[in-house]
C-alpha cells in the first residue's frame, strides 16, 4: 500500500506544485502508515528528481521518454495507472491544474477509483476516506467520501503548502510499456509564457479590473507584479473587452485560484468574480467606490483612485525590499 504523486514538470524542471504535492503526500502517507512514491513522466535529470526527497518523497519512478511532453491525455493516464499498480497505490494525488484535471478523471476510470477534485488540505477522516472540496465555485465546501479501495484526488493549489522534510532519495527507471503509437496528440506549436509567474503556481496574484479604464494602463500593474514575483490576473469584463488574454481571467467562468495574497485593483467584486478568488488567504482591494462588494470579501482595503495608489504601492514595495 502506498500513496503515489503524479508530478508535473516543465522544461525538465518540476513545477512548484509538484513539491506541494510531495509535501502533502508525505504527510498523508505518514498518517496512513503507508509508503510514498512519485511518478515523473518525460525527461527530468536525476538531480532534479532527487529534489522531491527534500519534501519527503524518496522513491521516484521516472519514465523519461520525451513523448510524454506532448501531454497526451490517454498515454499519460495509462502510464500513471501503470505506476499506481506498480507501487500498489491506495491514493493517487494530482494537482488541480490544467494537466491534473485532464488526467485524473481518466485515471479514476482506469483504476476503478473514486475521484474528488480540488481537495482542500488533508482528509477530514481516513476511514471512511473523506476529503473537503470546494463546491459552487467557492460559495461552499463539500465533505466527500470516496468508497473505493483506490482513491484519486487532485489538490487545490496552495491549500497545503510546501514543507521541507528531507528523506533518502531512491530513483528508479520506470517503463509503462507505451510505444510511440500510443501518443496521438500532435503538437504543431507551443506558445510559452516566459518570464512570467504561472497563475496557478503564484503565491501572490496582482489582478485588475474595469477600473483600469484601458489596456494601455496596465504598465504599473505589470510593474508591481514583477516586483512582487506575482502572477497577473484580471476580471471578466477586462478579458471580454480584449484588454487582457482569457488566460488571465479569474472568476466563476475563468480560473479559480487560491494564492496567499490577492490584489484587486479597480475590481468591483461581482459574485462571479469572488467565486474564483475567495479561497485566497488574504485579499487586498483598491477601489474608488467604498460600497463596492469587493470590500466585503477583502481583508485589507483602500478606498481611492487606483492610479494614485499604484505608484505609491510600487514605491513602498521597493522600499521594503531595500
Amino acid at each position: 500500500m502506498s500513496v503515489l504523486v503524479y508530478t508535473e514538470n516543465w522544461d525538465g524542471k518540476f513545477k512548484k506544485v509538484s513539491f506541494e504535492l510531495a509535501s502533502y503526500a508525505a504527510k498523508l502517507a505518514a498518517e496512513m502508515g503507508v509508503s510514498v512514491s512519485a511518478i515523473s513522466l518525460g525527461p527530468v535529470e536525476d538531480s532534479e528528481l532527487a529534489k522531491l526527497a527534500d519534501y519527503g518523497v524518496g522513491r521516484v519512478l521516472s519514465a523519461s521518454c520525451k513523448d510524454y511532453n506532448s501531454l497526451d491525455n490517454q498515454a499519460i493516464a495509462t502510464a500513471v495507472a501503470a505506476a499506481a499498480k506498480h507501487v500498489n497505490a491506495s491514493v493517487v494525488i494530482l494537482a488541480q491544474s490544467n494537466l491534473g484535471k485532464a488526467i485524473a478523471p481518466r485515471l479514476s476510470v482506469k483504476l476503478k477509483a473514486g475521484l474528488v477534485s480540488g481537495v482542500q488540505g488533508l482528509p477530514v477522516s481516513l476511514s471512511p476516506f473523506t476529503v473537503k472540496k470546494m463546491v459552487f465555485t467557492g460559495k461552499a465546501f463539500a465533505n466527500t467520501t470516496i468508497h473505493t479501495a483506490i482513491k484519486v484526488i487532485t489538490l487545490a493549489p496552495n491549500s497545503f503548502g510546501v514543507i521541507e522534510n528531507k528523506v533518502q532519495e531512491a530513483i528508479e527507471k520506470f517503463d509503462a510499456g507505451l510505444t510511440e503509437a500510443d501518443f496521438t496528440t500532435k503538437i504543431e506549436s507551443t506558445n510559452k509564457v516566459t518570464g512570467k509567474v504561472l497563475l496557478n503556481d503564484a503565491d501572490i496574484v496582482v489582478s485588475a479590473g474595469r477600473g483600469m479604464k484601458a489596456s494601455e494602463n496596465w504598465g504599473p500593474i505589470e510593474e508591481l507584479a514583477t516586483l512582487l514575483g506575482a502572477g497577473l490576473a484580471c476580471s471578466r469584463p477586462v478579458s471580454d473587452e480584449g484588454w487582457r488574454s482569457h488566460g488571465e481571467h479569474v472568476g466563476q467562468t475563468g480560473k479559480i485560484i487560491s494564492p496567499n495574497l490577492y490584489f484587486a485593483f479597480g475590481i468591483s467584486g461581482a459574485i462571479q468574480h469572488l467565486g474564483g478568488v475567495s479561497s485566497s488567504k488574504c485579499i487586498v482591494a483598491i477601489n474608488k467606490d467604498k460600497d463596492a462588494p469587493i470590500f466585503e470579501a477583502a481583508d485589507y482595503g483602500i478606498v481611492g483612485d487606483v492610479f494614485k495608489v499604484l505608484p505609491q504601492l510600487i514605491e513602498a514595495v521597493k522600499e521594503s525590499k531595500s
Binding site: K15, N73, Q74, Q96, N98, K101, A102, A104, P105, R106, S108, V109, K112, L115, S117, G118, V135, F136, K139, A140, F141, N143, T144, T145, H147, T148, T184, T185, I187, E188, N191, V193, N200, D240, H246, G247, H249, Q252, T253, G254, I271, Q272, S279, K281, V284, A285, F295, A298, D299, Y300, G301, I302, G304, D305, V309, Q312, L313, A316, V317, S320
Partner: protein
C-alpha cells in the same frame, strides 16, 4: 460528422447557495436553472462550426443526465440550435455515475464537447471519464477549435502557455473559456420550434457510485475589511508583512 455536446443543468451563477437543515443537501428552493456556462459556450462553438462554409457536420446532439425537470435546459439548447436531445432519466449521483450513463448514449459521435467543469460541484471529471469509458482520446483546457479541410486544429491551455494541436477523430474536447466569444441568444423562431425537435428519454443503467457527499459547509464568515487611507501605501505593505504575514 456528428457532434455531441454534454449539457449540465446548474443553478444560475448568481444563486445564493443554501443547504437543508442538516447540511446534507443543496436547497433547490427558488433556484433558477441554466445551462452550465462552459457547456453553453461549447454548444455555441459547435453551432458555429456547423454553420461555417464547407462544414461536413450533419447534426449536433445534446445530452444530459437528469430528471424531467431538467428538460427546460435541454430545450433551451434545442432553441439555440441543437438538432436533437437525449436525456438519461435519473438523478446525477456522482461524476462516474453520470459519465457511465452518458457512455451508453455517446457512442458513434465523431466529436464530443464537454465543459471543463460544472459550476455547481466543480468536479472537472465527467468529460475525461467519458472519454476513458469510450476509449477515445481527449484534450482538456481547450480554448479554440477549428476544422480546416476536415482536419481538427485544437488550441489548448497548458500550465505555462498554450499549444496548437492536430488531432484525429473521434475526440472528446473538454472546453474552457475562449472556445466561443459568448453564449448565443436563441432566436424567437428557434424557441418556438424547440418543442417540435426530437428529445429522446433513455432509461438509466445500473451503475455504482464511487463517491458521495456527506455534508456541506459554508465558508467561515470573513472578518471585516481593514481600511487603509489612500495615501498610506507604506502602512498597507507593513500590515501585509507583519500582521497578515503574506509578504
Amino acid at each position: 460528422m456528428k457532434i455531441l455536446v454534454l449539457i449540465g443543468n446548474v443553478p444560475d451563477t448568481t444563486t445564493k447557495v443554501k443547504f437543508n437543515a442538516d447540511k446534507t443537501a443543496f436547497d433547490t428552493n427558488g433556484v433558477q436553472w441554466i445551462i452550465n456556462p462552459w457547456d453553453e459556450l461549447a454548444l455555441t462553438r459547435a453551432l458555429e462550426l456547423k454553420e461555417a462554409a464547407g462544414s461536413t457536420i450533419e447534426s449536433i446532439f445534446v445530452a444530459n443526465v437528469g430528471r424531467s425537470e431538467t428538460e427546460g435546459t435541454l430545450r433551451k439548447a434545442l432553441a439555440v440550435g441543437a438538432d436533437e436531445a437525449i436525456r438519461v432519466d435519473t438523478d446525477p449521483k456522482d461524476a462516474f455515475y453520470v459519465a457511465s450513463q452518458l457512455a451508453q448514449v455517446a457512442k458513434g459521435f465523431d466529436l464530443i464537447f464537454a465543459g471543463i467543469e460544472a459550476s455547481d460541484y466543480n468536479g472537472a471529471a465527467v468529460g475525461g471519464m467519458l472519454a476513458e469509458l469510450l476509449g477515445i482520446q481527449s484534450v482538456s483546457a481547450v480554448s479554440g477549435i477549428q476544422i480546416e479541410s476536415g482536419n481538427l486544429k485544437i488550441s489548448r491551455e497548458i500550465d505555462g502557455g498554450s499549444q496548437t494541436l492536430a488531432m484525429n477523430l473521434p475526440l472528446l474536447a473538454i472546453v474552457q473559456k475562449g472556445i466561443a466569444k459568448e453564449p448565443r441568444i436563441p432566436a424567437m423562431r428557434g424557441i418556438m420550434m424547440a418543442r417540435s425537435k426530437k428529445l429522446t428519454v433513455v432509461a438509466p443503467m445500473e451503475v455504482e457510485t464511487l463517491t458521495s457527499i456527506v455534508t456541506f459547509e459554508s465558508p467561515a464568515p470573513k472578518a471585516a475589511c481593514k481600511m487603509v487611507a489612500e495615501d498610506q501605501a507604506r502602512e498597507l505593505i507593513r500590515l501585509l508583512h507583519e500582521e497578515a504575514k503574506v509578504l
